[in-house]
């Protein structure tokens, strides 16, 4: 070719610009065009994780889209609470959101959304408590950027199932949250074991951040847990919590 170096350079720049523009359009088109479907998938995935945390579906269950929506509709109520732990009208602005799991109008568990710092990005999930307000009923993660095989194990059932049955209060009724141990919990003193879960080897930092995040999130919801605990202790015999127990203590 007898093109001058200058013409070649101009051609290269023109070509680069053209490729960039075409590729930009392609990506933008795909991402905006598919966005509604993706949002719907994400919403469904969150609902599935709420159901999983509450123990309504098993960790390895693969319910269909319709089953998830039906179960969520039937058993889960989305509510908001203010800083004092009282239920509030949705019209009064944004409070802390919370999901109540009721079986035949009896409160079985409540689910708190978790948003924690991780090693590489945010970890988002749910933690469910039994209606005594201190026993963990389940824990799930639906979004994270941790390394697959290391910190990424937080999304696996073997890690999550260890949370079940842990207490966030110690024997003195003080709030202690749940911690991810460094290594197995067998090495910990017995008093700690009820508030700790086995860590993931090779993912000490992920564990540390998640421990911190859980503590911060649960602290925010302390007022609700306290109210639920009081309500639960008051009526340990009667299980007929037809209304949110918080209203009864008011």
């Amino acid at each position: 070719m007898s093109e001058s170096p200058r013409a070649k350079r101009i051609h290269a720049v023109k070509f680069a610009l053209l490729v960039s523009v075409v590729c930009c359009l392609l990506i933008t088109g795909a991402s905006t065009g598919l966005s509604p479907l993706q949002q719907a998938n994400k919403r469904l995935d969150r609902q599935k994780n709420i159901l999983k945390a509450a123990g309504i579906i098993t960790p390895d269950g693969t319910p269909s889209r319709i089953q998830i929506q039906a179960l969520f509709q039937e058993k889960i109520e989305t509510v908001a609470v203010d800083d004092a732990g009282n239920f509030m009208d949705p019209s009064q602005g944004q409070g802390l959101s919370l999901y109540l799991y009721r079986e035949k109008k009896i409160l079985k568990a409540y689910v708190i959304p978790i948003e924690s710092r991780g090693l590489w990005g945010k970890i988002k999930g749910y933690i469910a408590f039994e209606r005594d307000g201190k026993t963990v009923a389940g824990f799930t993660v639906y979004s994270h950027s941790e390394t697959p095989g290391l910190g990424g194990e937080i999304e696996k059932a073997w890690f999550q199932k260890n949370f079940i049955g842990k207490k966030i209060y110690n024997a003195q009724n003080e709030f202690v949250s749940v911690s991810i141990a460094k290594g197995g919990i067998a090495a910990l003193p017995e008093t700690e074991q009820a508030h700790s879960v086995d860590g993931i080897s090779g993912a000490t930092l992920t564990g540390r951040y998640l421990t911190q995040g859980l503590k911060e999130n649960l602290k925010q919801y302390e007022s609700v847990s306290v109210k639920l605990r009081q309500a639960y202790q008051k009526k340990t015999v009667g299980n007929d919590m037809t209304t949110p127990p918080i209203k009864e203590t008011n």
Partner: protein, 210 residues
């Protein structure tokens, strides 16, 4: 590089068997280790990579006379990266659960040597149709190895195929245990190693005898 003597059929099948990207060219091993615990993810990954290699080879080949040699690689990468992002978006929209399981590995197709390797070695020097077939053939060759490895790993590691339990409950009760190693990356190393050995020891399949 001249491929003038190859028929279209040969171009297509060469990537699947004789010059299989994983078993012969030893490319794309990283993702072959990562996504072969289950058949489902292996199949989706295989389809995604086949689509990307096919489409990128076709596009690069169409542009091959216009691409300025000085910015050749970056243009190829831009095309491949755009295709991968589009595929990732499509997976998120239609196969959300699988897209979550594949996590970073779809995005990492961009760095899969098979895609850039085929674009560089074949598409730049050949017309669109052979390039498309070469891309698809290599993608299918990769998928074939992925699925073969996944079958062994899922069967031995968790006693399932496509997520359906195939090991009878009676065996488990009689003391049969799943092979935990197969669910971990080292298991895939062994299987891929054995596969490469097996393929190269078959008559007519070894490149060493040429």
């Amino acid at each position: 590089m001249s491929n003038g003597n190859l028929t279209l059929k040969e171009t297509f099948f060469r990537g699947i068997w004789k010059e299989n990207p994983v078993a012969y060219q030893v490319l794309g091993i990283c993702s072959a280790l990562a996504v072969t615990v289950q058949m489902k993810t292996a199949i989706v990954m295989g389809i995604a990579l086949t689509l990307v290699t096919g489409a990128s080879n076709l596009i690069i080949s169409l542009l091959r006379k216009q691409i300025p040699p000085t910015i050749r690689i970056i243009v190829e990468l831009t095309v491949i990266a755009s295709l991968v992002i589009v595929i990732d978006q499509v997976l998120q929209a239609f196969l959300y659960d699988i897209s979550k399981q594949l996590s970073v590995f779809v995005g990492l197709i961009i760095t899969n040597c098979i895609v850039l390797g085929r674009a560089e070695a074949f598409a730049l020097a050949n017309p669109p149709l052979p390039s498309l077939l070469d891309g698809l053939g290599n993608g299918l060759g990769y998928s074939l190895v992925l699925v073969a490895v996944a079958v062994v790993r899922e069967l031995l590691g968790s006693g399932k195929l496509m997520g359906i339990a195939v090991v009878p409950q009676v065996w488990l009760e009689a003391g049969y245990a799943h092979m935990g190693l197969m669910t971990l990356a080292p298991g895939a190393f062994f299987i891929i190693g054995l596969l490469v050995w097996l393929k190269n020891s078959l008559p007519g399949a070894s490149h060493e005898q040429k």
